[in-house]
Amino acid sequence: MKYLDEYRDAGAAKKLADAIARTVTRPWVIMEMCGGQTHTIVKYGVDRIIPEAIELVHGPGCPVCVTSLEMIDRAHAIAERKDVIFTSFGDMLRVPGSRGDLLALKSRGADIRIVYSPLDAVNLAAANPGKKVVFFAIGFETTAPPNAMAVWMAHKRGLKNFSVLVSHVLVPPSMTSILQTPGNRVQAFLGPGHVCTVMGCEEYVPITKYYKVPIVVTGFEPVDMLEGIYMTVKQLEAGEHRMENQYSRAVRHEGNLQSRRLIEDVFEICDRKWRGVGIIPKSGYKLRYEYRDHDAERLFEVDDIETQESTECISGQILRGLKKPHDCAAFGKRCTPQAPLGATMVSSEGACAAYYAYGRHLEGRGIPRCGKTESELVQIGGVR
């Protein structure tokens, strides 16, 4: 496919890996912000074809992972009502709350449906006027325009039986929260490419200046990631700290102004609790007062449900780049994608789940790495 295949080209990846190796002179710790980027790194072995001096740590940018446990319990409480059709993206259904996951609730007869787009949920509300249709609106800034459009459209069409359970999170406050963590190790960021297609790059400029860290907005394919790492390492080695845009084929500096206007119309900024991290001030979106008739938390009175997380899980430290999945005694043993203990194992974009999916939980136990990882490593230029 055009604009995908060429960015998975082994020759180009190898040349960039060589350029990185020629540039680096000392150790650096770089965090990729997005779960999709984490997945690419582990799937293609990007971290294994660059010099060992560069350590990639995996950020909190998987919205499925960081959706708080109590928000999943609230979804559960709404979805089990007989008058409700509960709709969600597929990857949220397997995430366990304290009362099990939504898929198990569906197997017990609840009307829970997977939708491809939030507009499918709006159309479902139009087709089922006798039911209350609720959409689980999670995501980072990338998903905010689709979710805002769904609310705006339902409002415009007078669909009073459509509401959203909002658990939106924002990247820049999580970035500053990581940089303010005592013992922070992160020296530079690969910025979130798709978030920036919407929001642009401007809001990252003050972070580069205040905290003196390079931020390179980066795409999601192996060649993108290697170019992003190369641009980041060049800055680090030169003692610079600027915002740069590697993903310029999709990201404009100002973002998508049409999308930003719609977000501004439908949502306002609020404090948000992140699974594994806790409350980060001004790190989420909630519906504006004008759209309160579409606010599922208000309509179903579930905002008082609160839940405690597992104390054994170290995902909070992994999401801040302080630890890696292998640092956890439960990783791959008591904690697996089938029975996750916490945030980073619940979705395939979480660091622990990605490491598990590509066999890294078997490393160090005398068991060879799984064939898929090896073959893909060879595809993009061979194992280091």
Partner: protein, 83 residues
């Protein structure tokens, strides 16, 4: 989650006052909301996330990394040590 797939716009139309379209992803065609890229033309590529086009792909910018790699290759060839 923030998955974005590039696809080619093959048709545009309006639904409930919002610009929609058909987008081809390497042979698979899906209905996509084009309301956030309202100046898009048939034949252009867009980046699609959960059924919404969020950005148009700039073909000129897309080729830059390969131009850079080509230049780097030429530079390497110039630096072959003399016998």
């Amino acid at each position: 989650m923030c998955l974005g797939i590039p696809g080619k716009v093959t048709r545009t139309f309006e639904e409930h006052g919002v610009l929609m379209g058909k987008v081809d992803f390497g042979g698979v065609s899906k209905q996509v909301c084009l309301g956030h890229v309202s100046d898009v033309q048939v034949g252009e590529y867009v980046l699609v996330h959960v059924g919404f086009a969020l950005s148009k792909i700039d073909p000129e910018e897309a080729g830059k990394v390969f131009t850079f790699l080509e230049k780097m290759k030429q530079l390497d060839e110039l630096q072959v040590p003399s016998p």
